[in-house]
Symmetry: C2
Subunit: 190 residues, 2 copies
């Protein structure tokens, strides 16, 4: 056989503005699909908000957006309902072996999670420590503690890995669902 | 004074694919902002989903989307949390004086609302009868009744206005919040 040079199609990449690998996001989305199909919960990722500036209308075709920009989301990425409970969370990944930097979390996300907590919603982060390939469910109240002191003079700018081991909950990675975070929610937060 | 001709800036309009006037949507969004700022509830409109095809990166500038298309949303437009309850709804407008056509509702929205109902979420439509300038909160179970029989031979393809008068709930239009639909939710659905 002759090995002809392969012409690769140039793939246009979309930018991912969140500090989030697509793998974690797609693992969560696969879990959400499993939950939905099995009648366990209805949880969706919100679409990435886009500011549309210009649209063209090619004849007989659907509208084509020709200029638009990504906007900063004003909430977390995921929400929905599980057994009557309102569920709200964001997903974060870190390469660090020692802590999750708080700069991974946007101030408006903290505001949002605090508002949700006041309304008795169940809110948390799912944090992937890539170095250990561990997934943690971090309750929002622990996040708030670190966030609220981080601006003080001696406040930490990150949440130590030890805090995850002691005050967050390990989410088992499996086949179906891949990340059964609702089992952890059920055991620990309801 | 000389009246110079005014040069108007050409405004690029974004397309609204939902069968929804911007007024109803913005009235609901203003109400949601009021709820949020007063600690009453956390309810947001989901961003319109966009399929991004092509992005360019002008030097030192943020990413510019140069080709994208509107996607059909897989859920309703609004959701959030109110006193621990999961709230989920869509907004519809009709010019008809006699009924709301069921074609205003997409099948995937029905599927979504049914899934939400199974998870004990609070789900409904807000329907604006423009002819009467009346806003109704239509509980999802009434919607399901009509939807499920609409495909039968003699099934109606719309929900009569009389049904709104007898089985839906009028939402008062006011100043702040403009559409106090959560007061209606609290009285009738919780």
């Amino acid at each position: 056989m002759i090995n002809y040079p392969i012409k690769r199609k140039v793939q246009v990449k979309t930018t991912n503005y969140a500090n989030l690998g697509m793998t974690l996001e797609s693992d969560i989305e696969a879990s959400n699909t499993y939950y939905l199909n099995h009648g366990i919960a209805v949880i969706h990722k919100k679409p990435t908000p886009v500011q549309v500036v210009s649209v063209s209308y090619p004849a007989r075709n659907k509208a084509k957006i020709t200029e638009a920009y990504y906007k900063t989301p004003s909430t977390t990425d995921f929400n929905g309902v599980f057994k009557g409970y309102y569920i709200d969370f964001d997903a974060k990944e870190t390469n660090s072996k020692t802590s999750m930097p708080l700069k991974n979390v946007h101030p408006h996300q903290i505001d949002h999670l605090k508002s949700v907590a006041k309304q008795q919603g169940i809110s948390f982060l799912i944090v992937h420590f890539k170095a250990y390939n561990e997934y943690y469910l971090l309750p929002a109240n622990v996040l708030f503690e670190y966030w609220d002191t981080s601006h003080e003079e001696k406040g930490r700018k990150s949440i130590p890995y030890e805090t995850f081991q002691s005050r967050a909950f390990l989410i088992p990675f499996g086949y179906q669902p891949r990340l059964d975070y609702l089992k952890v929610v059920e055991r620990t937060l309801l």
